[in-house]
């Protein structure tokens, strides 16, 4: 078997899409000053929510909406604890991941063995299955949605008043409060958006990649999405580049596991596949070190990230 460029490319797109979606959502959440480590949990809630809706309604579009709602619910639960009850964001985020994993497994029990119609390309078969053109038309609508969201999120943050207020809340919550902005409401909205995006990312696993239910099917990609946000320096454009770069690395892992290097690059076969799996994290650390060592503060992290907001008047 030769090296199939088109199939490899399409695999990379498939690997990149969920982390791009979850990363965009988490970036908005973090820009508002909230660190939600529960991305993995929200993805799993979205995966089971979307899958259940797919099984029950046979409507993939509705399934994706339900996935978004399920993810957003997870996010709002996180919000109730961290924003309204002022619990620790790190601990609560980890708890959300554990909760999402457990709840999705529990709900998934009744769906074991069932299959939904894969939410594939909506283009005519002639395009979607065309040997060459499928590289453009052969994807699930979720892939195009993720790509459209990149400029939308960038535009929202840069050019809209709502985006400016969101950044202001993440930068200096007290000042935003004293100017009369509702810090808590802004953060709830950002968390809900982040949860919805993570939910859609989860649905990509249960509706597109493998249209059946399996426990923990997101396989830790939520953590990669978290690393991706830091890697991208909280910028949407870099998030897109980073998502596809990480996608390539994840593909290399699969490629190495399948012994793909055997024909193409035998030397690379001595590198264990775990090395490729670790690469996104290693690269994030390296990029962070480079960013923080640069003099002119390329560090774009929101100043209030992870800090609770306690208005004292």
């Amino acid at each position: 078997m030769g090296f199939d460029v088109i199939a490899s490319f399409m695999t990379i797109v498939g690997l990149s899409t969920p982390i791009l979606l979850a990363g965009l959502g988490e970036m908005i959440t973090e820009k508002s000053g909230v660190l939600n480590l529960g991305v993995e949990g929200m993805m799993l809630l979205g995966a089971i929510g979307g899958f259940a809706a797919g099984v029950l309604t046979h409507n993939p579009w509705l399934a994706v909406v339900c996935a978004a709602a399920a993810g957003a619910m997870g996010g709002l639960l996180f919000g109730v604890f961290t924003l309204s009850l002022n619990s620790n964001q790190t601990a609560t985020g980890l708890a959300l991941t554990i909760f999402g994993t457990g709840l999705s497994s529990l709900l998934g029990l009744s769906f074991t063995g069932m299959i939904v119609m894969p939410f594939g390309s909506v283009f005519p078969v002639a395009l979607a299955r065309h040997p060459i053109l499928q590289i453009i038309f052969g994807y699930s609508p979720i892939v195009y949605f993720a790509l459209i969201m990149v400029p939308l999120v960038a535009w929202f943050l840069r050019s809209t008043r709502a985006g400016l207020i969101l950044r202001a809340v993440g930068e200096n919550d007290r000042s935003a409060h004293s100017l009369g902005y509702n810090v808590i409401l802004v953060r709830y909205s950002a968390i809900a958006f982040g949860g919805a995006m993570a939910g859609i990312a989860g649905a990509y696993f249960s509706l597109v990649i493998t249209p059946m239910w399996a426990e923990r099917m997101t396989a830790g990609r939520g953590w990669i999405a978290l690393a991706l946000v830091v890697f991208a320096g909280w910028k949407a454009g870099r998030l897109l580049v980073g998502a596809y770069l990480f996608g390539v690395l994840m593909w290399l892992e699969l490629f190495a596991k399948a012994g793909g290097f055997g024909d193409v690059l035998p030397v690379a076969q001595i590198i264990p596949s775990q090395f490729w799996a670790a690469m996104p994290f290693i690269m994030t650390v390296v990029v962070l070190a480079i960013i923080s060592s640069r003099d002119k503060g390329g560090d774009n992290a929101p100043a209030c990230l992870g800090k609770p907001f306690l208005p004292t008047g």
């Binding site: 050019s159 202001a168 930068e171 200096n172 000042s175 935003a176 004293s178 009369g180 003099d295 503060g297």
Partner: protein
């Protein structure tokens, strides 16, 4: 400077009637009634905790009064939030700027406006306001790269764009050079001449005398007096504020200094971080009994200098700093304390004291060696509590006792405690930064007196402060730090304020005293 309006007997711009606000355990405002006229610059005076901030927060809608009425241009109003206040025509410039460091000047201004994000058209309006009042700023600059004076300009522009009829200014001059203060006053007088009212909160009484038409004085949440600051003296107003006689700093004979205690010779420290300031070739000496002041606008190397003197940053050369002739440049803070050198940094919470530690535990942190609070690795809690109790007693710190958490104290009380903690250790050399920052007049006087007494006992003292009045009142010798360089020292008795102002603004020159 009040103007007669066309209308006969116009109602006051703002009138407060019986405003009352309770906090748990405190009555922050007790039936306060006052009025601000159109075109009036009205001073609101009072010590820390007198209720000034609470009062203006209620006017600006950040808090709601428990009782009482706010009348705006004669009509009773409720101000539920700052947005509503701005809609009425009330603008506010905060003491601690409510700016967003990572955003641009323009974005910061836009956030303070309750309209759509400015595109081209309001951009022109912003520029018009800036030129009209001589408040020049580059709209595209990131705020973190601006000086304190420039940041304040953003706040003022932000407030002026809303065309306010009342502008509240909370301690606006505490961070400015004398020249910047003059520029600000020109702007404020121009605003008043246009019929706008200004409510001016400050504790700098000579500024209030120079600027304001009326003064309202609060003490303990109650309105205690109303006066015309132009006919009062600074002293009489200060006494009304504290409700008693103001103690002068009692000092002995001047100029009788002993041997050199602290010698700094060619101290250079590279800048730390992207916004740090490098210290360049700093040399000065302080003799026994001398109080040496270092003036300067914030961000000119004061922090780096304090860290270098305290030992948190060590010098390359052993000889760069010496105490009583012994080189200490290479020593870290603890070793320098062993040599008789103590220091108090500017930031009380988290630098000078650990907020969640008790006062006794905070005493252990700096006094453990000199006062033997640690024996074979174990803390002698009784010694720590006794010492903390002594400090509380000697400096009349308002606290529940040595077990009180540092964070439970008000700023002024914590500052008194921290100063007392060092002073009662009788250090040979004491370096303090901003010793009375955010501290009320009574506490400031106590701290100043303690420093003078320590000097009289033969210690050498370095006071780093942005408050020029404080330095002029307290110090024997004064130098100015600007961009990490220290000017030549001058005797305070011979120093001219214009020259100091020019040095603070960065105009160096040994020849300026010709003029």
């Amino acid at each position: 400077m009040s103007k007669d309006n066309a209308m006969p007997n116009p109602p006051p711009r703002l009138e407060l009637k019986g405003i009352t606000k309770h906090f748990p355990g405190v009555l922050a405002n007790d039936h306060v009634s006052m009025a601000v006229q159109p075109g009036e610059i009205h001073a609101l005076l009072g010590e820390n905790g007198a209720g000034k901030s609470t009062l203006v927060k209620m006017i600006y809608g950040i808090m709601q009064p428990d009782a009482g009425e706010i009348r705006w241009n004669g009509k009773p109003v409720v101000v539920p939030n700052p947005k509503a206040a701005r809609r009425l025509g009330i603008g506010m410039v905060f003491q601690h700027f409510s700016l967003f460091e990572a955003l641009t000047v323009m974005e910061n201004i836009a956030l303070g406006m309750d309209a759509r994000i400015p595109a081209r058209e309001p951009d022109a309006r912003i520029r018009a306001v800036m030129t009209q009042y001589g408040l020049l700023l580059d709209p595209g600059r990131i705020v973190s790269t601006l000086s304190v004076g420039e940041r304040q300009r953003i706040e003022i522009v932000r407030a002026l764009l809303l065309n306010p009829e009342l502008l509240i200014m909370d301690e606006p001059t505490s961070v400015l050079t004398p020249q910047e203060v003059d520029q600000l006053f020109v702007v404020l007088r121009q605003l008043a001449s246009e019929g706008r009212s200004i409510l001016y909160i400050s504790h700098k009484l000579h500024e209030i005398k120079a600027l304001c038409d009326t003064a309202t004085i609060l003490r303990g949440g109650k309105l205690v007096d109303r006066c015309d600051p132009r006919v009062e003296s600074s002293r009489s107003m200060a006494e009304k504020m504290i409700g008693g006689n103001l103690k002068d700093i009692q000092r002995g004979k001047l100029g009788n200094f002993g041997a050199e205690k602290l010698v700094v010779k060619g101290l250079s420290v590279p800048a730390e971080g992207p916004f740090g300031v490098a210290l360049k070739d700093i040399s000065f000496s302080v003799r026994a009994g001398e109080i040496f002041g270092i003036a300067g606008v914030a961000g000119n190397g004061q922090n780096a200098l304090l860290l270098a003197l305290s030992g948190e940053a060590t010098a390359k050369s052993h000889q760069a700093i010496s105490v009583d002739g012994a080189p200490v440049g290479h020593m870290r803070a603890r070793a320098r304390r062993g040599q008789g050198m103590a220091s108090v940094p500017e930031e009380r919470n988290g630098h000078a004291a650990v907020p969640v530690f008790s006062l006794a535990d905070n005493a252990v942190l700096t006094a453990r060696d000199r006062l033997g609070m640690v024996r074979s690795g174990l803390i002698d809690h009784r010694a720590a509590r006794t010492y903390a109790g002594e400090v509380i007693e000697a400096f009349s710190v308002k606290a529940t006792g040595p077990g009180a958490l540092a964070e439970s104290l008000s700023g002024g009380n914590l500052q008194k405690y921290i100063m007392g903690r060092e002073i009662l250790q009788k250090p040979q050399v004491l370096v303090v930064s901003q010793p009375t920052w955010g501290v009320d007049a009574g506490a400031a006087a106590a701290i100043h007196q303690a420093l003078v007494d320590l000097a009289a006992d033969g210690s050498a003292i370095v006071v780093i402060s942005q408050d020029l009045d404080e330095l002029l009142a307290l110090c024997d010798t004064l130098a100015v730090i600007n961009e990490g360089r220290l000017s030549r020292p001058m005797k305070v008795s011979e120093a001219r304020i214009e020259e100091i102002g020019l040095l603070m603004g960065g105009i160096h020159g040994e020849t300026t005293h010709a003029a």
